[in-house]
């Protein structure tokens, strides 16, 4: 079974702090994604990565950056956390095989005070 793990289930940070969210997948997938999920808005793509050291902005990249130094690990960085970044953050990796499925981690609920 594909497994996508995220470093924390719950995180509380203060405004202005630098925040790192880590995601690891164990299926050798090239593509990885970071989304945020807010009620009534569904999932919105922040950044994605085609492969190691490759990244592309999604629909809402402002205030975020990413790092992909190893194939299995994709990190989301909030350089200076703000209260409007309080949200559920979901990481996914993609199987480029027949089903084109995205496999999601359990999410990190981030609260910025």
């Amino acid at each position: 079974d594909v497994k996508v793990t995220q470093s924390s289930r719950y995180l509380v940070k203060r405004t202005g702090e630098k925040v790192f969210l880590e995601c690891v997948q164990d299926m050798d997938h090239e593509n990885m994604f970071w989304y945020r999920q807010d009620p009534g808005l569904g999932l919105r793509l922040i950044y994605f990565s085609y492969d190691v050291k490759m990244k592309e902005k999604g629909d809402i990249p402002e205030g975020y950056s990413v790092s992909r130094e190893k194939k299995e690990r994709f990190s989301l960085i909030l350089e200076s956390a703000s209260t409007n970044q309080t949200s559920m953050y979901l990481c996914a990796s993609r199987d480029r095989g027949g089903t084109d499925t995205q496999y999601f981690g359990p999410g990190t609920r981030l609260t910025v005070l």
Partner: protein, 111 residues
């Protein structure tokens, strides 16, 4: 940014009832996926539909892709409490297979 609107946003029904969830867009998608998300977990893929007009069945769940590949529906027959969750449609475009997610439908099935 492409938008996928789902309706209804919330649905609370009793066990045994039937229901339909709609996913609509003004954009054309190469394929459309449906996911279910349970509390505390990430979304899990239920089905992918690719061809306009395609109908797929997964036990009591029936998925349909519109002829013009702009909309989709999910019909659940004889709902059970285990169907409770957040249902998300997601449209796929482009070679990167980026997904555009719908706004979500939260379903509650009670005994």
């Amino acid at each position: 940014t492409q938008l996928l609107e789902q309706s209804p946003q919330f649905l609370s029904i009793q066990e045994g009832e039937n229901l339909t969830v709609y996913c609509n867009s003004s954009s054309v998608f190469s394929s459309l996926q449906w996911y279910r998300q349970e509390p505390g977990e990430g979304p899990v893929l239920l089905v992918t539909v690719v061809t306009g007009g395609e109908v797929k069945k997964l036990k009591r769940l029936t998925f349909q892709f519109g002829d013009a590949r702009k909309d989709s529906s999910l019909h659940i027959t004889a709902a059970q409490p285990g169907d409770t969750g957040l249902y998300l449609c997601a449209g796929c475009t482009g070679t990167a297979s980026k997904l555009t997610f719908g706004t979500g439908t939260r379903l509650q099935v009670t005994l």
